[in-house]
Structure formats: structure tokens, C-alpha cells
């Protein structure tokens, strides 16, 4: 559990674009042995949603929102030395942002949570063209595809992408999530039987059961 004072100091520094202070706070938490999942859910995810909310309400500028994302993205680098050490399960996931979607950090955090649970993840980043993603899925043959959507207006692109994936890989499990879904789940999502909407990083583990798999070795 992250202390409220810690959270408030971090959030203030984040909004002020003070990367160094944010880095110090994250380092302190890491030194204290915070669980990576807790750091992701209670600090990174929570602040990003809060900042997104401020942006949607015209309380902060696009530039400020981008600065916050860029700082958070650089802070994820501090976590990586702790992230990939876990024992592996024999599961692979491809994680991507929908075409035209430039906000990649949510998808990356999903990939990181999967890594923490022993999955091998392939993170394709922002604005991945559909044909390239299909080719990559064909090569890697993942157990799951994760698609992140932050901007509500990109739902049509997401739908097209899901249709294309479903046509080529009908058995592939697909998870979707991201800030765009805060405005409500689109009805078309129910048309795809292998599609799962994941509302938060917490629910990624709880609902989708990604940590139910037995690890290969201790």
C-alpha cells in the first residue's frame, strides 16, 4: 500500500514535470521492497488515470499530459531490472496499441504485469499497423493478444483491428482495455467470443487469471 503522502508528493512532482523528484520517490519505494504490481497499480496507473481525467476536464494542457506520460515512461525503466527475473510460464503474449493510437504506456504496463507473472511478452508499441501486427502474430503464435486504447475516438480502428485478427486467428484470446473504455464498453465487443475487456491492471490478474499457471521452475 502506498502512503497517501508519498502519493501526493509524487503526483505533485509529476504534474510539475519534476522527473528527478518522481524518480527519487520511485527509487525509495523500490528500496523499501515495494511489490512491483503495487507500484504499477497504486502509483503509475492511478496517477495516469487522474492526469487523464484532468486533461479531459481541460484542467491541464495536452503538452502537460504528454510530459506526465513521458516521465512515467522513463520511470518504468527503473523497474525493469526487477521485472524480468521471474520464473517463466510457457505463455506468450503480443501487446500493442491499436492503429492510430499513440498512447502506449497503458499497453506497456499490461505487458509488464504479464512479465511479472512469468509470461513472455512482445510489446509492439504505439500505432502499430494492422498488417504488421498480423504478420507478427503469425510468427510468434502467442497465447494472447492485448490491445490498448486510450482515445475514445479510436474505437472504429480498434474494431477493424479485432475483426482482422479474429478472421486470421479465430482461436486467439484477445484482451482489450485502456482509458477509452472509461466512457463505456462498446456493444460490438460482445460479438467476439474470445474477446475479454479488462478494466484495470488489478483485474488483469484477478479476472483473466494470468497468474493461475504453474511456473516452469522454482
Amino acid at each position: 500500500m502506498i502512503d497517501q503522502d508519498f502519493y501526493d508528493n509524487y503526483f505533485r512532482a509529476l504534474l510539475n514535470g519534476d522527473r528527478l523528484t518522481c524518480g527519487k520517490i520511485v527509487q525509495t519505494l523500490l528500496d523499501q521492497g515495494i511489490e512491483i504490481k503495487v507500484l504499477y497499480r497504486q502509483l503509475f496507473e492511478k496517477t495516469l488515470y487522474e492526469v487523464g481525467h484532468l486533461w479531459e476536464n481541460n484542467k491541464i494542457s495536452v503538452a502537460r499530459e504528454h510530459l506526465v506520460t513521458a516521465i512515467t515512461e522513463s520511470l518504468l525503466n527503473m523497474v525493469y531490472p526487477h521485472l524480468f527475473k521471474k520464473n517463466r510460464v510457457s505463455k506468450k503474449a503480443v501487446i500493442s496499441c491499436a492503429a492510430n493510437e499513440y498512447h502506449q504506456i497503458g499497453g506497456k504496463m499490461v505487458a509488464d504485469i504479464l512479465e511479472l507473472n512469468g509470461w513472455d511478452t512482445y510489446f509492439l508499441g504505439a500505432n502499430t499497423p494492422t498488417d504488421q501486427m498480423l504478420a507478427f502474430i503469425g510468427d510468434i503464435k502467442p497465447d494472447m493478444l492485448g490491445l490498448s486504447l486510450s482515445i475514445y475516438f479510436n474505437f472504429p480502428a480498434l474494431k477493424q483491428e479485432i475483426e482482422a485478427v479474429n478472421a486470421s486467428f479465430p482461436q486467439l484470446d484477445i484482451i482489450v482495455g485502456g482509458q477509452a473504455f472509461r466512457w463505456g464498453k462498446m456493444p460490438f465487443l460482445d460479438d467476439f467470443k474470445n474477446l475479454h475487456y479488462i478494466a484495470s491492471l488489478d483485474l488483469l490478474e484477478k479476472e483473466f487469471g494470468i497468474n493461475d499457471n504453474k511456473v516452469d521452475s522454482e
Binding site: H66, A70, E73, S74, F84, E115, A126
Partner: protein, 369 residues
């Protein structure tokens, strides 16, 4: 000018100047003062322009009325900023209006964000690959350790039987057969060394390298370590000169491992020494530190090859004088052992002069942090 426009111009983020016909600033709005400085009136307009090559010509700018012209402006914070300027003459005055090139700023911002994302993705990939390499390295060490462990026993048996035959059956064998046995024995000794080194390295890399620390007299450790070296030096006709301080302290060290290092370093020196040369070993105690050094008169190591010495399986171009073989692991193991004792090991060498290897151990041995 109507007062309402004046108010807006004063409050807007545009830079606004009124100049005389010579280009001297008569007045400026609040933004201009905020970004460029408090005192602008009376200054020539060109004084606020960054003009590296002295090519700025105010007259030619002012004559292009209503044409947007980019100018790099010196801001009061010392950073240059590009503004898009328009000039307009009205009566005896010239009006100059500059606005930020927002398209350019937006392009730069987008590029930086994309680069930041790419860098972050690459960093993630790099960490992932590192973790995979670590895992592979561990598997390799496990395999190496298992293979070396399983090979040790049969090699030991072949070595024992070959030595037994050399000792006991020599009178019944001809010179050629004895030669074969000697070759088998020498090869076994070398194989055993490789296997021992592999076991050491795999233990070190797997983090299973443990020190058996006991208080021992370092002078005794030196004597023990040199036992094999003395025979080796004698066989090659090399003078092994040993000099040690009369009073040496007891240190908390792993005796067998420090002996291993001493034997190895001195053995290297002998192997690289020409016959009838000298190998000097010194052991002193000074300023709370044990200082060991071994110096040979061999061919020396070229400067550009010195960094290979402490890297696994890297061998220098220098050949041993008696054709002895090397695993390329001895110095790696020596360094690990010395560092595990909180010590330091280093090497100096000059081509055609010889090589000087040193290590120091703190008086408190491995207990010292």
C-alpha cells in the same frame, strides 16, 4: 490606435514593437518585455536578433511588408527562440509583430515524445534480453559444472594408472611406450587443470563460491603455495627468488584459495620465463595491507593485450617458453578469489622486459568491508 486593441496587444503572447524609421525600438508590449528584457526602448531592433554572421539587414526586412519572416530572438533567459515576424509601416512608425512558430514547436514535441517512447521500448527490450542472457548463462554454468564434475573422476583414474605404469612398469617397456605414457600423463594433468578451472568458474558464476575463512599466517601460506613452483622452476633452470618481511600478520582468509592464487601466479611467471632467468616473489606488510608481487623476465605482454588477461578464455599472443598449455581461466579465478577477500589484483608489463603481477589483501582479510 484604439484603446481596446492596445489592451489586447499588451496582454497577448505576441511580441509587439513600435519602431522609428531607423529601426530603433520606441515601445514594446508586455510579452516583449517579459521575454526579452525590461529595457527595450531606445535599443536598435537588430540588437534583439541573433545575428551570428552580421548579415541581418533591418531595411530589407521592413520593406517586405506582410511577409512572414522567421527571426531568431535572444530571450532574457539566454535561450534563443524563433518567432515569425511581420513588419508594417504606418506614418512615421514601423510596427513589428512576432509570434511563436507553434507548428514547429508541435513537430518538435511530437518527435521528442516518439523518440522517448522508442528509447523506452528499446530499454525494456534490452532489460528483457539481459535477463534471458543471465538465465542462459546460468544454464551454461550448470551444464559446465555437471560436465566438469563427471569428467573429473575418469581423468583422475587415467592419471593415476598412467603414473603407476610409468613408476612400476617402465623396466618392461621400450622407450616409445614410455613416451606414450608420459604424453598420456601430461595430457591428463592438463585436462584435470581445465576441469578444475571449469568447476571454479561455474561455482563463481553461479554464486556458489564460498570462502572457508580461518586466521592463518600469510607467510606460511606463501611457503605452501610455492612448493610446486620450486620444483617447476628447478626443472626449467629458473632462479626463484623469494623475499618476505620477517613479521607478517595472521589474516582471516581461505588458505587453500590464496595458495591456489600464489601457485598460479608464480607458475605463470615461470612458464613465461626463458631458461636461466629469474622470477622474484615478494611478500610485504605495509600500511595495514599485505602486498604480494611476482616479477618475471619474460617477453612481456603488449599494452593492447593487457585487458585480455582477466577475461575468461582470452589468451594473449605471448607463448609460454616451455610450450605449456593454458586454459585461459587462471587469472579470472585469481581475480575472483582476491576480490572475494576484499583485495585487489593488477598487472604491469613491458614488452621484452617482463611482467609484474601484484595483489593486495587488507589486514583484516575477507572480514574487512
Amino acid at each position: 490606435m484604439m484603446p481596446i486593441y492596445e489592451t489586447f496587444l499588451n496582454e497577448s503572447s505576441l511580441l509587439f514593437f513600435i519602431l522609428d524609421q531607423q529601426g530603433t525600438i520606441q515601445s514594446a508590449n508586455r510579452s516583449a518585455h517579459k521575454f526579452l528584457g525590461d529595457t527595450l526602448a531606445g535599443k536598435p531592433f537588430e540588437s534583439i536578433v541573433l545575428d551570428f554572421y552580421n548579415t541581418f539587414d533591418f531595411d530589407s526586412f521592413r520593406q517586405k511588408e506582410n511577409v512572414v519572416q522567421p527571426l531568431n530572438i535572444k530571450r532574457r533567459n539566454g535561450l534563443p527562440q524563433t518567432y515569425l515576424f511581420k513588419f508594417k509601416t504606418h506614418g512615421n512608425s514601423i510596427y513589428a509583430v512576432g509570434e511563436l512558430d507553434n507548428d514547429e514547436l508541435e513537430t518538435v514535441r511530437k518527435e521528442i515524445l516518439e523518440l522517448n517512447e522508442e528509447l523506452s521500448n528499446l530499454t525494456r527490450e534490452l532489460h528483457k534480453k539481459n535477463a534471458q542472457l543471465d538465465a542462459l548463462n546460468q544454464e551454461k554454468n550448470q551444464f559446465l559444472g555437471m560436465a566438469a564434475h563427471d569428467l573429473r573422476k575418469p581423468i583422475g583414474l587415467i592419471l593415476s594408472y598412467s603414473e603407476f605404469l610409468i613408476d612400476e612398469a617402465s623396466p618392461d617397456l621400450n622407450a616409445e611406450h614410455i613416451g606414450f605414457l608420459n604424453t598420456i600423463q601430461k595430457s591428463c594433468v592438463f585436462m584435470k587443470r581445465i576441469v578444475d578451472d571449469f568447476l571454479d568458474v561455474s561455482a563463481i558464476e553461479a554464486g556458489e563460491f564460498e570462502l572457508d575463512l580461518r586466521p592463518v599466517n600469510i607467510g606460511d601460506v606463501l611457503e605452501q603455495g610455492l612448493r610446486l613452483n620450486k620444483l617447476q622452476a628447478e626443472k626449467k633452470g629458473i632462479a626463484l627468488m623469494v623475499k618476505k618481511s620477517p613479521e607478517l600478520p595472521r589474516l582471516l582468509i581461505d588458505q587453500s584459495k590464496i595458495e591456489q592464487v600464489i601457485t598460479n601466479l608464480v607458475s605463470n611467471a615461470i612458464e613465461h620465463s626463458p631458461p636461466k632467468s629469474q622470477v622474484a616473489v615478494t611478500l610485504t606488510f605495509d600500511a595495514g595491507q599485505i602486498k604480494f608481487s611476482v616479477e618475471d623476465q619474460g617477453s612481456g605482454i603488449p599494452k593492447d593485450e593487457l585487458d585480455k588477461i582477466f577475461k575468461p578464455f582470452k589468451k594473449t599472443s605471448i607463448k609460454k617458453t616451455g610450450g605449456e598449455k593454458s586454459t585461459g581461466l587462471g587469472m579470472v579465478i585469481a581475480r575472483k578469489i582476491i576480490e572475494a577477500h576484499n583485495g585487489r589484483i593488477w598487472i604491469n608489463s613491458k614488452v621484452n622486459k617482463g611482467t609484474h603481477v601484484h595483489f593486495i589483501l587488507p589486514e583484516k582479510g575477507a572480514a574487512h568491508e
